[in-house]
């Protein structure tokens, strides 16, 4: 069970890093694009990158809420 939790955390960190960089690069590429949908895409890509950071921090045990088991 402990090994599974370690594997899940490692997977989350690895995946989180990839998602963060993909979102950041996509955001940089779309930065100059215009149009209402592209403005929303930029906002959402930024939040996606933030979500990836939060996922990494949660997997590292840096951020853990009160209702969460150790």
């Amino acid at each position: 069970m402990e090994t599974l939790a370690h594997a899940e955390r490692a997977l989350a960190i690895f995946g989180g890093i990839i998602v963060f960089f993909v979102a950041a690069i996509a955001l940089r590429n779309d930065w100059k694009s215009t149009g209402i949908e592209n403005q929303v895409f930029k906002l959402m890509l930024g939040l996606l990158a933030l979500g990836a950071i939060l996922g990494i921090l949660a997997a590292l045990g840096v951020l853990i809420g009160k209702g969460v088991g150790a």
Binding site: E8, A12, L47, L54, I64, V68
Partner: protein, 204 residues
């Protein structure tokens, strides 16, 4: 008819049709209408989220006795799977914009698979924590919000599947693809809602 022949036939058709005047004039309006729908959905989620935060801060000793203990490792993996699906959906739309139908189809299929993976992880979590809807305010809020979000993901999977089938049938061209843009917006919206839910349930 094979997928390859559909793809080749559609490829020619997709390049042939230029956006007409009516399409150009109504495109922005359709996107704005869809954004209004997303805002209404955001209000729905916000009302539940603020109700949860209010209840959480009005009581003593949160999360209270008998509240389920959530699995942070499983939730982190599940979150990354969903966020990853947002990235793959972005790639799908970008490939459509660059007239690459095969890559578009591959990325959208991967998005659907990741979305289904997220739902599977959510079910695993429900089984793992062994709590019910009646496990106090925490349990009720958790199941209501994550269940509502899960339903949106389920609808999103159906939505993306329909978009893929429509694209295979040649309903969209490389110049006229508002439906695909709206599908991508919806999927990003579902991702962003999960960023908030993940934060309030697992990180606060």
């Amino acid at each position: 008819m094979t997928a390859a022949s559909v793809t080749q036939a559609g490829f020619v058709g997709r390049h042939a049709e230029e956006p007409d005047q009516l399409y150009r004039e109504t495109r922005e309006l359709r996107i704005q209408g869809f954004l209004l729908f997303m805002v209404s959905d955001l209000v729905l989620f916000s009302s539940f989220i603020f109700a949860y935060l209010y209840l959480r801060n009005s009581g003593q000793g949160w999360p209270g006795p008998g509240a389920p203990k959530l699995d942070i490792a499983l939730a982190a993996v599940n979150s990354i799977v969903l966020f990853g699906s947002g990235a793959t959906m972005h790639f799908a739309l970008e490939n459509w914009k660059h007239s690459n139908f095969t890559k578009f189809a591959n990325w959208i299929v991967l998005t659907i698979i990741l979305g289904a993976g997220f739902l599977t992880g959510q079910v695993l979590e429900y089984v793992h924590i062994g709590a019910s809807w009646s496990s106090g305010i925490f349990g009720a809020s958790f199941y209501t919000l994550t269940g509502m979000h899960g339903f949106h993901v389920f609808c999103g999977i159906i939505y993306l599947t329909v978009l893929l089938l429509q694209a295979l049938q040649g309903k969209y061209t490389f110049c006229k693809y508002t439906g695909l843009t709206l599908g991508t917006l919806y999927w990003h919206f579902v991702d962003v809602i999960w960023v908030v839910l993940f934060s309030i349930f697992y990180l606060l």
